[in-house]
Amino acid sequence: MNYVKKLSLLLVVALVVALFSFSVYAQEYGGTFVFGRGGDSVGLDPIQVTDGESFKVTQQVYDTIVMFKPGTTEVIPGLAKDWKVSEDGKTWTFHLREGVEFHDGNPVNAEAIKWNFERWGYEDHPYHIGGEFTYYAYMFQDFPGVIKEVNAVDEYTVEFVLENPQGPFLNNLAMVSFGIASPAAVKKWGEDYFKHPVGSGPFKFVEWKQGDRVVLEANEDYWDGRPYLDKVIFRSIPDNGARYMELRSGSIDMMDYINPEDVQSVKENEDLDLILRPSFNVGYFAMHQDFEPFDNVLVRKAFAHAINKEALIGAFYAGLAEPAKNPLPPSIWSYNDEIEDYPYDLEKAKELLAEAGYPDGFEFDFYYMPVPRPYFPQPKMIAQAVQYYLSEIGVTANLLSYDWGTYLDKYYDDQFQTYILGWTGDNGDPDNFLYVLLDQTQNNCGYESEELHEILIEAQKSVDKEERIALYKEAQEIIHEDVPWVPIAHSTPPLVKKTMVKNYIPNPTSTEKLHRVWLND
């Protein structure tokens, strides 16, 4: 009996080993991976940029102290192999991996990390140059903000002392913006550093032909193992249709932002796979309360009843989205599923308008963005559909647009009466949606709620997750009642790859490291 047991155990072990070795064996080294995207990077110093196209590249070149587990927003070790936080939540200690080097051969140690944070956070730092350091101020509230000091305890131990506890602190450190750069390279290039990025990530920077392509090559000594790919090229092909043609003809291996109309043909094509990025965004219609009559909550509620979200998703997202009732996407913790959305009901909407004193409707400007975004793949059509829904309750929206840069400028300038826009979360924390988009000190829709502000600040300072969940659920109820926006959809952005591209795991935060991707030629 004993003998049989032993034998079967041995068999199981052998099987597991065989399976494991087979899967290892199947992965192939080598090859060049070409990714086609809608636009060029703005810059390659991640702390200076906010656009997804820059982050796609810097994600490969840099490491962060901690990072997100592939396909999730769960925090896992990065440059730090482990960490601990003090009782009061104010002191974070990180133990770094030993022997990790930047691409220029300098060591990644506590001093280097301290130097990076001081460069970002201290406005009088000699290398606080080359941009606005936007995301630092965003996430740590000003310069130096929440981070009081960064200490290099020893070669491989770094300690952060915070002004007050910050709930999302660890998730913030995992954001691609806080990639650790080689101090020597920053000193060498100064203002021009954004064109010569040096980090410790899985791929080294080779060249950047602006408007055309960024070329990267494998970092042989990467701490998480050499990447399977030899080279990665990011090509800019602005037109969605043209990019799809290139993919079909084989000159690129993968692309994002496909026209929803083409999704069906991808599904029918044996050589192509449609993969879906986990939904982690929100597309919304905002009503600016500095303008009459949007200061009246009844008008805003009427609009919420007038828009048929299900129909919009069926028509313009190829079904790859779900209707939004909260600013938070359902995949994030603290999502309040008990909230009941305002149903599509034209009669109710008309009643509310009449009650607000506008039985005969009114006229206003409605802005839509000129470029497809993950949350609004076809903004012009969606805007026209919304305009039509609103015309059915007797209000007239004049559709207007600007080029993308101007559009964002005017949005930040509070010049739009109503507009559509959206957001993709970048650190997996609800704070990154609710505080950034709707707090009265941050939002661009004239929404003021002291009650909400207090909740959001309290949630920021708390490190107790249960408490934070309760606070954010309450925040969503307030937002639901005040209707600063009509949330429209949480999309599941489609990516298209050739079937020969293996193990591409899209992350909700919209960028991912490519060192585990391999090509099956």
């Binding site: 000129p370 015309s391 207007l400």
Partner: protein, 290 residues
Amino acid sequence: MTNEEIKRRPSNPWYEAGRRLLKNRIGLLGIVFIGILLFIAIFAPLIAPYDPLAQNIMGRYKAPSSEHLLGTDEMGRDILSRIIYGSRISLQVGLFSISIALITGVFLGLLAGYYGGFWDMLIMRIMDIMLAFPAILLAIAIVAILGPQLRNAMLAIGIINIPRFARVVRSSAISIKESEYILAAKMMGASDVRIIFFHLLPNAMAPLIVQTTLSIATAILEAAALSFLGLGAQPPTPEWGAMLTDARSSLQQAPWVATFPGLAIIFGVLGFNLLGDGLRDALDPKMKNV
């Protein structure tokens, strides 16, 4: 013979030109095209089977059928109805923008041609500068400053067409102003205004009419181009050029969405071009015997 009788004589040049135009097949075809276009534009609400703005996002990209003769577009709107209403916009653009160009251009041309000297120099150099820019580029610049709206697009098209009219009028004014009957009018004490409007302008009429007709054709095309670039009519206005631009992304999957507005533009532009050609032949005194 009294004056009345002289006017009624069949040898009146306008009457002659009209007769020749109707005999000219090309010109006649142009008149027919424009006639159809006018008819459609005027009676659009009666002809169009659907509301051009009514959407049905459940029925997008429907192929032509008995229900929707030309199919439906990306918002599920009836393309035929949109084209029918679009004729109003195209005609409006043509007439409005060319009126701006005509009035301003004629005024400047007469001023430059009649007075000559400094005014001629100043006005015509400005016109030269405007002509030095590619027309559509100048229009884009003007719209970019004023903001993308149909009204501004019409204004821009009007402005870029001014030099053509100014040139035509100026050259005929110069050729006539030294003639003896103008001298006679001056001797009789006619004012400059009288001479300009009663003697110079009527003599420039023939080339002006041709120029106007042809310019309406280009204006329609330019408006479509501006709308195609997103600088003219804004959604959901059923403007032909704007319809084309929205159809671009579905060219492979629903070609009818782009085809029919394209044909409508061709039809409208061709009508005015043919009429312009016919008028040029009819009004040219050298072609009298054709």
